[in-house]
């Protein structure tokens, strides 16, 4: 409460920044009014503080004390700089956003099947009468950073699948922070509208290439029609100067399925909120996540699944590998609402602590208001099994290699679930590159 009463010079900075860029922001006059309301929500609440339960383990001070600005234009990185972030052999449609601006040059959308729309969110807003900055179908949980995004976002991906459309190739949504200038912020907003019986796979990829500190604040909305299926692979590889905050909201109609895979490898500080609301029967959500904070990284995953009606299913598995001074936070909330009978939910979060300086804080929460349900959760924190290390050593594998094999295989089951071979190899390589002993593993393989 006191946060709102204090004079917050940084909030003033963002009010001024909004005034500076408002004219350039996409959308009609009506949507500008929506943005202004969101800006007020943000300025009233300010940045969340660690006194709030949801932010107990993650302090946003490093973001708060800086004054980030919107990039007026993209500093398009060279192909060479971008090349390491394009998974080899990945056959995908590609939409690229650089510093919050759609880049037609880097994108490749030819050959989309009829019924599938993939375009710049800004272009969609400017071209569509009555388009709203927030998906009307989604009961979004208010959060001040999502409000900040709604006020400031410059672009993103707009994907719409007409009823019955199935896209067989993944859609690679690549958001690049050029880091070419100091203290820039990238506010991107994606919306995926899945019509009845449609199917799509989206690789939502965040990368940072430059040396300057920057801030990415992303929001993704998924409107899940009846019997639609969305596979979303979020790969977060911000630079080590990057601050990353992102939120995902899915609202699911009858028989719809969401498979969400999260890989958090980059960023100085990353906070990811993943929310799914199952509002209709027989809907399913599967959340998988791997986070690997090393060095001085701080990675915080918050998930929330609302079983709002009967007969729905959720599965959630998160694994963390923490080394050096890495700090990991996992908070998984499952709410089974009154009358959400026959809900079937299971959740597990495991963490592997590889260093005494690393820290993990886990909180798997259950809130249950219905009695005929199956709800279970489990959580473990531990280290490599010395017997297993010994076994591998007795087979002629060196100490480092043995530890690397066990460390990687801990995360491996969730990496494989992605199911796109080119992406699996890409994530595996990226994960090995940062885990201790990764080179030893690569040498063995």
């Amino acid at each position: 409460m006191s946060a709102t009463q204090q004079i917050e010079p940084n909030i003033d900075h963002y009010l001024a920044e909004y005034a500076r860029v408002e004219r350039e922001l996409p959308g009609s006059d009506d949507s500008k009014r929506e943005r202004q309301a969101e800006l007020r929500r943000f300025s009233d609440a300010g940045f969340p503080s660690t006194r709030e339960e949801d932010w107990k383990y993650t302090s946003l001070r490093p973001i708060e004390k800086r004054r980030f600005e919107i990039s007026d234009e993209a500093d398009t990185p060279s192909e060479k700089a971008l090349a390491p972030f394009l998974p080899a052999g990945l056959d995908a449609f590609r939409i690229v956003i650089v510093d919050g601006h759609f880049s037609a040059v880097l994108s490749g959308l030819d050959g989309l099947p009829p019924g599938a729309t993939v375009r710049s969110f800004a272009a969609y807003l400017n071209a569509t009468d009555g388009a709203s900055i927030k998906a009307r179908e989604i009961d979004e949980e208010p959060g001040s950073l999502t409000a900040m995004n709604a006020a400031f976002f410059t672009d993103g991906a707009y994907i719409e699948m007409a009823a019955g459309t199935v896209v067989d190739k993944p859609i690679h949504v690549l958001s690049v922070a050029s880091g070419a200038r100091d203290e820039r912020m990238t506010q991107v907003r994606h919306r995926y509208v899945m019509g009845e019986n449609s199917q799509a796979t989206v690789i939502e990829h965040f990368v940072g290439v430059g040396d300057n500190p920057y801030f990415t604040n992303a929001v993704t909305e998924a409107v899940m029609g009846r019997n639609s299926q969305l596979t979303r692979c979020r790969v977060q590889q911000e630079s080590d100067k990057g601050y990353h905050v992102s939120s995902f909201f899915a609202q699911q109609r009858r028989d719809s399925r969401v498979f969400n895979h999260g890989f958090d490898l980059g960023g100085r500080l990353a906070r990811i909120d993943t929310n799914a609301r199952l509002v209709d029967q027989n809907s399913e959500v599967h959340l998988f996540g791997v986070y690997a904070p090393t060095g001085r990284q701080h990675i915080d995953n918050h998930t929330r699944i609302d079983h709002a009606t009967e007969h729905s299913l959720s599965r959630e598995f998160y694994k963390g590998v923490l080394a050096d001074y890495g700090r990991g936070v996992f908070n998984g909330k499952i709410i089974i609402h009154r009358d959400a009978q026959k809900t079937d939910s299971a959740q597990a979060c495991d963490a592997l602590l590889l260093s005494d300086k690393a820290e993990v804080d886990a909180k798997p929460e259950l809130e249950i208001y219905a009695d005929d349900v199956t709800a279970a959760h489990g959580s473990t924190v531990g280290q490599l099994d010395e017997d297993a290390v010994f076994y591998l050593k007795s087979r002629g594998i060196g100490e480092e290699g043995a530890r690397a094999i066990l460390t990687y295989s801990f995360a491996n089951s969730l990496v494989n679930k992605v199911g796109i071979p080119a992406l699996v190899s890409y994530i595996e390589a990226a994960l090995l590159a940062k885990l201790p002993g990764g080179q030893a593993y690569a040498d063995l393989a």
Partner: protein, 494 residues
């Protein structure tokens, strides 16, 4: 089968609170309100030394700066701390009775009615018609509203070197011990309710087990709230010196009243090298009626410090009463190889709410903790398990196992789990698991076709669910807890 489910719920719906009577007794109660004068009055009434009064006043000053916690999963109207009377004592206890013969017969009657034997000679296992049978090998300290009325078996304990008396007496007789340990585990400014307790605590038990002594009998305190509009603020301090052992039991009841009464207690345990403290509670404060009218607000801070190497503190609790329970018996595992345990059964029915759990803070090397929490929620009860397991960098090879299970009876109740795990040592191993279920129709069917009545079947299943905790209770308490659970859930499940 659906019909059967309703029967189950109907069975849980109503039961009488057996301890709900009021003892008509003249008592010395001060006017409601809280200020420094009230604290001076309490301190003066107890003839306390100056340092104790100062300690209380400092606590009060700290408390005034604090705010009531908002984070629990509990809903209640704000408590007006100026409307509570902070001291009430039966008039007859003005001059401390020298023997039980001098104790007001009405008081003795109250305890007899509750099944708490205060007569050392006459005690038999299981007082006729009482719901709290006790064997005669238990020393009892009986606390009535704000004062301790009697402590039994003092002589026998003295021979063993054990000090067991009310805390007021300890302040007079053993000030050096009280000064050394009071507030050393739960500091005055620890939390809102502990701060309030430190300022206005009226009585409670004091236990000191000297080096190497195994306490010859179980110690027990029985708390009873009787007077209207009063709060009970007791403070218990148990010190187990190196190599000693003690088992301590605690029970509580209150009359049936329409308004809420506040109970804010603090319990501090200190275990030195190789010492072991076993602390068992059966909490059966008046829970309010099925519409949530009346009942005790139970805000308790319980914490044990395993200071010594290889020390052990074990908390076992059966929580069936109170309109609101806010309670987290915790262990600070400072000593190397120290052990902390928490076993809990909590039942909420009617409109009861409970937010309970534990904290295990691992500091010493090889420290171990076990948490088994069983929650049963029926009717419109709301229950939350809230636990913290924290491993500090110094706690190499620390080990924790946590299991919390919830049983839901009826579709209007709630069961929630908020387990916090914080690990900062790479050699620590932590496990947590939680499940939520209801009484299965096939379980019921199996029992019924074997000839059990519905009530017996439910009782069997529920007792099986709680077995892991009950087996940790001392024998007499286990029987009592099982009975209590049966009456609590009587008419709850069918």
């Amino acid at each position: 089968m659906a019909a059967h489910q309703e029967d189950v719920e109907a069975l849980v719906a109503e039961r009488e609170y057996e301890a709900g009577f009021v003892t008509d007794l003249e008592s010395d109660t001060i006017a409601p309100g809280l200020n420094e004068d009230v604290i001076r009055f309490i301190s003066g009434k107890k003839d306390e030394p100056e340092w104790m009064l100062e300690w209380r006043l400092e606590a009060y000053r700290q408390w005034k700066q604090m705010k009531s916690p908002k984070w629990p999963h509990l809903h209640y109207a704000p408590i007006d701390y100026q409307k509570i009377s902070y001291f009430s004592a039966p008039k007859s206890s003005a001059g401390k009775p020298k023997s039980l013969d001098e104790v007001d017969p009405k008081l003795l009657e109250t305890y007899a009615k509750l099944g708490i034997p205060l007569h050392e000679q006459e005690m038999l296992a299981g007082v006729e018609g009482a719901s709290y049978p006790r064997s005669n090998n238990v020393a009892v300290d009986a606390v009535f509203d704000s004062v301790s009325v009697a402590t039994t078996f003092k002589g026998k304990l003295k021979d063993a070197g054990v000090i067991f008396c009310s805390i007021s007496e300890a302040i007079q007789e053993h000030p050096e011990l009280v000064k050394k340990y009071l507030g050393s585990v739960v500091p005055r400014g620890d939390n809102f309710f502990a701060g309030l307790n430190a300022a206005v605590f009226t009585d409670g038990s004091f236990v000191y087990i000297p080096k190497g002594v195994r306490c010859p009998m179980e110690l027990s305190t029985y708390f009873r709230i009787n007077a209207e509009n009063t709060g009970q603020f007791e403070r218990t301090l148990i010190i187990a010196e190196a190599g000693s052992h003690v088992s301590y039991l605690e029970g509580c009841t209150a009359p049936q009243r329409d308004e809420n009464q506040l109970h804010a207690a603090v319990v501090e345990l200190v275990a030195e090298d190789d010492a072991e403290i076993k602390y068992s509670t059966v909490q059966n404060w008046y829970p309010g009626d099925e519409n949530g009218k009346g009942g005790i607000f139970n805000f308790v801070t319980k914490r044990g410090d395993c200071r010594g190497a290889r020390s052990k503190i074990s908390w076992t609790q059966v929580e069936t009463g109170s309109a609101i329970t806010w309670k987290y018996p915790s262990c600070i595992l400072t000593g190397d190889d120290s052990v902390g345990e928490f076993y809990s059964v909590a039942v909420t029915r009617g409109m009861q709410q409970a937010d309970t759990g534990t904290k295990m803070i691992h500091i010493g090397r090889n420290s171990k903790s076990t948490i088994i929490a069983k929650g049963i929620s029926a009717a419109r009860g709301e229950q939350a398990y809230r636990g913290l397991v924290k491993i500090l960098p110094s706690a190499a090879n620390a080990r924790n196992f946590t299991q919390c299970d919830s049983l839901l009876i009826g579709d209007k109740c709630g069961a929630h789990t908020f387990p916090y795990v914080e690990s900062r040592n790479s050699t620590a191993k932590l496990e947590h698991e939680a499940t939520t279920s209801k009484i299965g129709e096939d379980q019921m069917f199996y029992c019924l076709q074997r000839g059990l009545t519905e009530e017996d079947a439910v009782s069997l299943i529920v007792n099986g669910f709680c077995k892991d905790v009950f087996k940790e209770l001392p024998m007499e308490f286990a029987v009592e807890a099982q009975k209590l659970l049966d009456v609590t859930l009587e008419n709850a499940v069918g």
